[in-house]
Symmetry: C3
Subunit: 216 residues, 3 copies
Amino acid sequence: MNSSQNAAEWFVTYGLQIFEIVGILAFALSGLIEAARKKLDLVGMAIVTGLASFGGGTLRDILLDRRPFFWVEHQEWIWVILIMCALALLFMRARHLEPTERSMQWPDALGLGIFAASGTQIAITAGMPAIIAVVMGVITPVFGGVLRDVVVNQIPRAFNDHQPYAVIAFAGGWLIVLMNALGWPAIWAVSVGAFIMIALRISAIVFSWRLPTWRV
Amino acid sequence: MNSSQNAAEWFVTYGLQIFEIVGILAFALSGLIEAARKKLDLVGMAIVTGLASFGGGTLRDILLDRRPFFWVEHQEWIWVILIMCALALLFMRARHLEPTERSMQWPDALGLGIFAASGTQIAITAGMPAIIAVVMGVITPVFGGVLRDVVVNQIPRAFNDHQPYAVIAFAGGWLIVLMNALGWPAIWAVSVGAFIMIALRISAIVFSWRLPTWRV
Amino acid sequence: MNSSQNAAEWFVTYGLQIFEIVGILAFALSGLIEAARKKLDLVGMAIVTGLASFGGGTLRDILLDRRPFFWVEHQEWIWVILIMCALALLFMRARHLEPTERSMQWPDALGLGIFAASGTQIAITAGMPAIIAVVMGVITPVFGGVLRDVVVNQIPRAFNDHQPYAVIAFAGGWLIVLMNALGWPAIWAVSVGAFIMIALRISAIVFSWRLPTWRV
């Protein structure tokens, strides 16, 4: 067993979970920042942060008629979110918003990779056809942000920022479909898929890739 | 059997139902008023009024995968809402909106208490863990208003009015969880919980309690 | 067998399907146009177009707890929508929006008739009471447009354009309920109901019928 195999196994065993935690925290912080910008109170903060964190996965599970939701199985996350809101209320100030948001891009890439990969795999395992699985893989990381923006009366950033984000989830989804078709075990398909999507997303940020512009 | 026992029994037998009716009417009127403010037509009025009345409970039932919805079991309410909209179209004028809204605060407190209490209890009965039951108890009375505001392109009042409303549902939910843990029958947990939440909400209005402010 | 019978049979066998295709394309184009107006990118275009096409039926199926969704059973439509978005990105320009939207009114009437009729019938077949079936018949063609508008931060046109649209679905729904009560086969109830609603909608456009105005 060489060291690259060791690294791969470590990633499958612990890395995915760590990435998931980091990803959820990044999604949650995007909700907190939006709530702060809109000057919401504690209730609005908690709801918008919750939607940003778990809205996408919950919508996917409603569409797939799948229970329990992630946040029902992992109730501790509800406490994490409530505590984050309380801490933000105490310590977060306007001058923190912009830098927090900018530094959030990196952990957010982990969330994109993990949730797109697991969302696609969950739909494949539920017996969905390939294109539906890919769509579910896009909905999972993207719709939390969509719901977060829609409830505070903002056109979702995902709809007009011309950044390759949902598009990476879409392409990565097909990769996971392919790996499943080749008979790879689900955990490897998810790990490799997530890893590649994270790499693509980070490249997109570093090299400022843009989607083609609509010339209306 | 003394007279306070009689009063308690009367409340459990009839009071809850009367409170429920008054609460739904108050929620419906909040939808009607919003529709009037936004100058919606008959269709918009009916949809916004329906969302305000039953959106929260419907969302809870979708999340819990529970059927039939309240408005499917009690279809007569759909007629009530349609008739309210027709009457409003005929008789409601701009000068009525502000006074109606102000006087709605009181019956709305009944809706908060009843729906938070029954929402929490329904989730407990469905086998949900405590924190999830409490969240469902918040969603039931709060998300009707959230949906009402979101569809007409307004940041939900529940998110930024700094009033103790969802917070009362949250605190009251834990009380109902406690009463269930102590082995109280569900009907008593709901009654006592609803009663206390209504009292808290009325106190909040009378004494102008406010949530801590976000100092962004 | 006379020629009007032949025409009726042709309509039931092929017409309904053709109308359905035309209707979905019209709904999809309404999403594309809205996306173009809001200058969304490819991702926003695809999501708004998808919501406009299938949002209403999907919401109906979630409420009825019914699977699979239309777009899961007919995955080819997802490709149609993605290709439409790509073509629009390449060829659609600002000067096309207004004329496209105006000419869309006619095929859109087919969508209204077909989806209101099939939505009502699906709910009746699922054992729903009459008023609920009628509400589902309204939700099916109307809520795609509602979701399309809400996600791009616009008060839904269905709520304030004073056009008889949802109201036609409501009236037509009762007709379908009646035909079912008279023991007509479902396919005939849907066909006749759809036909009458389409005729009503086209009359409403031609003669500029308006809903009564709210005199706030």
